[in-house]
Symmetry: C2
Subunit: 348 residues, 2 copies
């Protein structure tokens, strides 16, 4: 029906360690009254390193939305093509086999979107369906898998190319002094990931079996952007930590429906790396063996939270430690709304 | 399989005639060297009237992206709820029957998007699938119908709520002096339209039969936004007029595949009102009787080009002059990429 093939992961060349980031924030706001608390919280994120599209010394000066949009477009065009081409090869397909292209990206805005760019740069077919998704934030990667799954259900043997491109650093606002802004500035990273969902299942990967979505009433303020003259201003409310207890039962319900067993019995899980606490909450409420989320923790530590790109980075790590055929797994991501997109599949 | 039910159309309270708009542009740029040519071209658009979210005297002063984003959000929340509630009633459904909500809007940006707002304001089910589409411009309305069609193919009996919300006036840039900017400022209008695609076909409307999409290689510059400190700057290249000759054969192919007849033999057409010339080109290349596009011309004259909202406005006009059961029709919209989304259906 639909198999997510081996993802590609393309990381921008610049990197920053967490101690370097703390030092940069200290230079920007040396007399901040919550300086010590902020740095303690940042050290607590378990993010050790991140990749950035530009060197940090260029990001701590706000050059304006016009300039940042140009960087987004230039690097977006370059890196999306590279990631997509690799993902198509990973799937054992050629560019001419792609029927739909989904691009998820909440950290910049282009119209025509990168879906149009990819059809041109990869010379995809002229009847390729485009689905650019800009407003689902971190949940968009799993959402793209679920929409690709729907598309393959409607069009058996279709192949869907997904590119998740996030340049979170272009949303860094050096003048923002709220505590949550400091944390976001040290949590989110840049990455481009891509994968093909292959309708004929003739490739190794995660064979999709079932899916669901969950929306939490009256929680729009948990994760949000303000769009201002200076670009996107991201707000992360700590109340978002309370959401996992409500989504966990939904995840259990889907898993039982498909596998007649709790999530804890699954062989693997591919979870969004919302942050250390989100992963802790998942382990707690799903009663998971802590090592089950090791790949998500590894991704968080090495890349930070790369928003919609996370789920494909974690899935790629799973390909490097492949489960045996028939292994049962779940993927899930969480984002603004508050929204969760969840699915279950079998490794084949 | 999937029927587009009667749309709702909600128009902002402020209006402006074309002569008033010419007078406003004259006040802004009294010594513009192409003043006479610009006004001649504007009078040639056949747009007589448009609705606006704010009075014109507030739009000709640029209050900045921060302020415009607030207006977009406030009015977007209010008018999307009103339009959606009416569309659900038109479909003979209750809010609890909706399984997916699609919001198309390229004239403002929110995260969480209006899909989240609608789930909250209409108390939709907690497993409602969200699909916010921001980057497909004018083609997004027809794209939403086609994605809803796919979703119903994958989930028979599902009901998809679509809201197309465009406040083009919030992208008016009073300082832009290019000729195409003058034309855009006098062509695009504000409107909110909505319709439900009902999977069980148990309502009057356009029963969807088949669909396709068409992307024109290397034409990204035909229709585009630049995202700047002062917001979205829209560019419309006159080369877009040449696109219809290439998309017409694709439309014919789809129509022949489904109805074994040329588009000219269809009983009705629901076409995007890209502009007078786009409609002329469609009539010419599809060899249509000129009156076939009367409803599109009416919409263009009374509302201007309301981007992704057009297709539902024209469809609502078709409901007011309903074809007999079994009548054959085509819908099509065109937008950035250059991209066309096309479909055929039967009136039931």
């Amino acid at each position: 029906m639909a198999t997510v093939c081996r993802p590609s992961v393309v990381l921008p060349q610049h990197t920053i360690s967490q101690e370097q980031m703390i030092s940069e924030l200290d230079k920007l706001h040396p007399f901040h009254p919550k300086r010590d608390l902020a740095f303690k919280m940042i050290r607590n994120t378990q993010v050790d390193n991140r990749h950035l599209i530009m060197p940090i010394e260029e990001l701590t000066i706000h050059t304006g939305l016009t300039h940042r949009s140009r960087i987004y477009e230039r690097e977006g065009r370059r890196l999306s093509t590279e990631a997509a081409q690799q993902a198509i090869e990973n799937a054992g397909l050629t560019n001419n086999d792609i029927d739909m292209v989904v691009v998820t990206s909440c950290t910049g805005f282009m119209m025509p979107s990168l879906t149009a760019h990819l059809i041109n740069s990869l010379k995809l077919k002229s009847d390729t369906v485009q689905l650019p998704i800009a407003q689902l934030g971190c949940v968009a990667g799993a959402s793209a898998i679920n929409r690709a799954f729907n598309f393959c259900q409607a069009n058996p043997k279709a192949n869907v190319l997904i590119v998740a491109l996030e340049f979170s650093s272009l949303c860094f606002q050096p003048d923002n002094v709220e505590l949550h802004s400091f944390i976001s500035g040290a949590l989110f990273g840049d990455a481009v990931t891509s994968a093909v969902v292959r309708g004929d299942d003739l490739a190794k990967g995660l064979r999709l079996q079932n899916q669901t979505t969950y929306f939490m009433q009256d929680s729009e303020e948990y994760i949000s952007y303000d769009v201002k003259d200076s670009g996107f201003h991201f707000t992360l409310d700590k109340a978002v930590m309370n959401s996992i207890q409500y989504v966990a039962p939904i995840m259990e319900m889907l898993n039982r429906r498909e596998f007649n067993a709790p999530v804890a019995d699954n062989d693997f899980v591919i979870f969004h790396t919302g942050g250390r606490k989100i992963l802790d909450e998942l382990v707690k409420h799903l009663e998971l063996a802590p090592e089950k989320v090791n790949l998500s923790r590894e991704s968080l530590s090495q890349l930070g939270n790369v928003a919609s790109a996370v789920v494909f980075d974690v899935l790629q790590r799973q390909f490097d430690a492949p489960p045996t055929d028939g292994s049962k797994g779940m993927y899930a991501a969480f984002g603004p709304g508050f929204t969760a997109e969840i699915g279950v599949g079998v490794w084949q």
